[in-house]
Structures are given as structure tokens and as C-alpha cells.
């Protein structure tokens, strides 16, 4: 184990180096560029033995990774925002073909208006593409998820591609001290990729074929079950990770001071730290505040959400996302978890941070106080205007 001062992108690249992908295909896009720059340097200096393919677009980047995976290789790519949307067609190919590719996505706003700063509308718009989706909070978690991602994605019960999301700039470009595991530890944790879902000259197969109405439905059901199975595999993988590396993770969600909480903010990504600090401050004033950080949007933590929210007075879902014409998508998912558990808890949606707009500690404190009083169902933090988002 060594310590280095790294940005989120650099930490993720270190994790990928330890995971030994055999093929890396990527097209640079802000704020993802540094992760693929670092990986190209690692390939250049020989510390990572991978085929580094320069492609002409994001659609090609993921297509190339799919081809590599179909040849039996461990494949990596990375993108952000418009790049993710441009490769959208291939997301479904990778998931339906059950190719356990890992992709880092630097969460960034989507055009128009053009903007390079962070929000989560890019990846949340692709929740239905069939990928596992994690949302890291800090650089250490980013590195650890890079290493765990292949083990989860490649598990025979899962066989599903993995999208590791890092908040653009706030996480990709900020620096922290990060523990880097040794090569020996990483190799012990993550064995080489082995699969039957690949080209085999001794035993020719049809691959990535079509399937008509009689069987297509069954393929899709099996794809769904594979993604659901990831929940258990994530938990097993985190236990094994803790045994080897000594860092513990808590599965699909991470709860903070929720045991006796009356008011909880459910959120995801890097803003969770500020939510915890605010909860601490409010606790000193006697307000029982807590935080739930969703670590995985797919598979969705239905049970975990229902368990932690069942006794609260009110909850807020804070997200850097909106599904135009409705509400934030995380809010929709959280509400569905409660409905399925037959719970009727007051919940409110807080949308903020779009296009990189800052969410302050004061904004978060306001969320706690306004859900205690009751507010609009969907709220837009600090939007201004005549109705201030009402």
C-alpha cells in the first residue's frame, strides 16, 4: 500500500491499472480526459500491458470495447455527457450481449445550452440501458470501485457491464490523499477474466445475434435477473475487498445517522459529504437529521431505501437531475421503493446543481427545515424568478 495525492480521475486510472484491462478504447471528453491520458501514459511506460486503441468517436469507443470483450478480453472505456449519449446505442448492445465491460463516466450536464460542468443528467438518462451504475463520493472510493467493478461485472451470475460514475470536476478534478493497493493484493483480489461468452476457434459460435419474438423476451428477462443478481455479488465482493484491503463499503446504500433520524436526505455522489456535515450541525441543534447516500442506482436499492425511510417523518431526495415534464428520476425510483413496501412517508424532491451550479451548506440546511414544515412536492434549489421554483 502506498499513498498518493490524486484527483478522482487519476485515482480511477490507478484502480484500472491494478485491474489489468487488456484493451482500452476511449475518446477524450471533458471532464473525463485525464483518466484516459493517465492510462495511455501507463501503457506507454509499460506499467500496464494493454492494447490502447485510439478511436474516432464514443460510439466507436464502446463498439471497440464490445468487440474486445467478445474476443474474451477485459475491456475498459471512459466517457462523459454528450459522449455517453453518442454511445447510447452501444450501451444496450453491451448489456444485451452480457459483455462485462467497465466504463468510467464523468457526470456532466447535457446540451443545450452547452456546458461542461457537473450534473448527473447524462448517466441517469441511461438507467434503462441495462448497465450496473455506481456513484462514487470521493477519490478513494473511485479507485476501489475501479478494482471491484470488474469482479462484480464478470461474475458468472451477473455478466453485466458496469458504469462507474464520478461527479464531473467536483470529484474528477479535486485532489485527495488516496491509498493505492499493491499489485500483489490486487492480483489476489481480481483473477484474470475467463468466459464462455467469447469467440472460440475450436468451438465456433454465433455471437451477438438476433432473437425473434419467441425468445427475445426470455433473453431480456435473463438480462434483468443478471443485473438484480449484482446486488448480492456487490455485497460479497465488498466483504472480500475488506478482507484484503481493509476498507469497508456498505453495499447499494450508505447510511449516516439514520437509526433515530426523523428527517433524511437521500442523495448520490459527492454532495453527500456536505449533507453529512449539515446533518451533524442540525443534530447539535436537536434536529434528528440523517443522510442516505445511494451508491448504486442499478441495481436499485429498493429494500434498503424502504428499510431506512420507513420510520422517518419526512425525506428529501436531492439530485442533480430532472426528467423534464415530471420530476427528478432518483425521486421517482425512491418513491417506487416505498410504494412497493406499502409505506406512506412524506417525501419531497429537491433539484439542484444543474450545469454545475453550486449547492451550498445553507441550501442543504434549508432542505431539512423545509421538509420539516412541508413544502412543494418538487423544489428547485435557488432558482429565483417570480415563483422561486414553486
Amino acid at each position: 500500500m502506498s499513498k498518493k495525492f490524486l484527483s478522482g480521475n487519476e485515482a480511477f486510472a490507478e484502480g484500472i491499472r491494478l485491474a489489468r484491462p487488456q484493451v482500452i478504447s476511449a475518446y477524450p471528453i471533458t471532464p473525463q480526459t485525464i483518466v484516459v491520458e493517465r492510462l495511455s501514459e501507463m501503457v506507454e511506460d509499460g506499467s500496464l500491458n494493454a492494447e490502447y486503441v485510439h478511436v474516432e468517436s464514443e460510439h466507436s469507443a464502446l463498439s471497440c470495447a464490445i468487440g474486445a470483450s467478445a474476443a474474451g478480453a477485459r475491456a475498459f472505456t471512459a466517457t462523459s455527457s454528450q459522449g455517453l449519449l453518442y454511445m447510447a446505442e452501444c450501451l444496450y448492445y453491451a448489456a444485451g450481449g452480457r459483455f462485462p465491460i467497465v466504463m468510467m463516466n464523468a457526470d456532466r450536464s447535457t446540451a443545450l445550452p452547452w456546458n461542461i460542468y457537473g450534473d448527473q443528467r447524462d448517466s441517469l438518462s441511461q438507467l434503462d440501458s441495462g448497465w450496473i451504475q455506481s456513484y462514487a463520493e470521493n477519490a478513494q472510493e473511485a479507485l476501489d470501485l475501479a478494482l471491484m467493478s470488474y469482479k462484480i461485472a464478470e461474475d458468472n451470475r451477473v455478466q453485466t457491464p458496469y458504469m462507474a460514475n464520478l461527479d464531473g470536476f467536483v470529484l474528477t478534478h479535486t485532489y485527495e490523499t488516496v491509498d493505492i493497493p499493491t499489485r500483489e493484493q490486487a492480483d489476489k483480489f481480481l483473477p484474470p477474466y475467463e468466459t464462455d461468452n467469447c469467440i472460440d476457434f475450436d468451438n465456433p459460435k454465433n455471437m451477438a445475434f438476433s432473437a425473434g419474438p419467441d425468445t427475445n423476451y426470455i433473453f431480456k428477462y435473463k438480462e434483468h435477473k443478471g443485473l438484480l443478481a449484482a446486488a448480492e455479488v456487490i455485497s460479497e465482493t465488498e466483504k472480500e475487498f475488506a478482507d484484503i484491503f481493509g476498507r469497508k463499503y456498505s453495499g447499494l446504500t450508505e447510511n449516516y445517522r439514520t437509526d433515530d433520524a426523523e428527517y433524511i436526505i437521500v442523495t448520490l455522489g459527492s454532495i453527500a459529504g456536505l449533507c453529512r456535515e449539515t446533518a451533524d450541525k442540525l443534530r447539535e441543534q436537536g434536529i434528528k437529521a440523517g443522510v442516505v447516500r445511494i451508491r448504486y442506482m442499478r441495481p436499485f436499492p429498493n429494500k434498503e431505501i424502504a428499510d431506512v425511510l420507513k420510520n422517518v417523518t419526512a425525506y428529501a431526495v436531492l439530485e442533480k437531475d430532472i426528467s423534464f415534464g415530471n420530476e427528478g428520476t432518483v425521486f421517482t425510483n425512491v418513491n417506487s421503493a416505498l410504494k412497493k413496501a406499502e409505506l406512506n412517508v412524506k417525501g419531497y424532491n429537491f433539484i439542484g446543481g444543474l450545469g454545475g451550479r453550486n449547492i451550498s451548506a445553507g441550501d442543504i440546511e434549508n432542505i431539512y427545515t423545509s421538509i420539516a414544515k412541508g413544502t412543494e412536492s418538487v423544489n428547485f434549489i435557488g432558482i429565483g424568478g417570480e415563483d422561486n421554483g414553486k
Partner: protein
């Protein structure tokens, strides 16, 4: 080697693979339904194999010194009849 035909319907849940990779080297159905005319080899065929070389579907072979057509996969394009230098292949209307 020509692929064999394995006409199978009604795959059960467990017969459907987990991922999209499956045994290769077979076809799931014959493919001649859209043919409106069919090539017919006449007596004067000399077995020169020109038609075999030009057939875009690879359905022509030589049997007993003459061209033979696999009607399961012939799509009736007529290239064999056009390429035959001695007019030994005629296209006839398909009657079903």
C-alpha cells in the same frame, strides 16, 4: 461444408442461453420462400462449373457431371442462367 438445417421452434426458458452466444454452423430455416422463378438445368449442361462460380448463394454443385441446384436456398436470381454460355439453364415460373 454446408451448414445443416436445424428447424427448432419453441425454445424453453432453460434452452435460451444467458448471453448472446450459441452453437454455430447451422441454419434455422430453408430460405427459398421469395423465389418467383427457378433455374432448371437442361440436358445439354456440360458441367463446366461457371454457374457454380457465379452463384451468389453457393447453392450450385455438380452431380453426375451436371450442375445441380439446392432449391432449399436458391433465391431465383437468375445469374446462373445469364452466365451459362451454352444456354443450359432456363428460368421457369415457380408454381406452388
Amino acid at each position: 461444408m454446408r451448414p445443416y438445417i436445424r428447424e427448432k421452434k419453441d425454445f424453453s426458458f432453460s434452452e435460451v442461453p444467458e448471453n448472446t452466444s450459441f452453437e454455430a454452423g447451422y441454419l434455422t430455416t430453408v430460405n427459398s420462400g421469395w423465389r418467383s422463378i427457378r433455374p432448371v438445368i437442361k440436358e445439354k449442361c456440360v458441367g463446366c462449373e461457371q454457374c457454380y462460380l457465379y452463384c451468389p448463394d453457393g447453392v450450385i454443385s455438380v452431380k453426375d457431371g451436371k450442375a445441380a441446384i439446392d432449391y432449399d436456398f436458391c433465391k431465383g436470381c437468375g445469374i446462373c442462367a445469364k452466365i451459362c454460355k451454352i444456354g443450359a439453364i432456363e428460368m421457369e415460373a415457380e408454381r406452388k
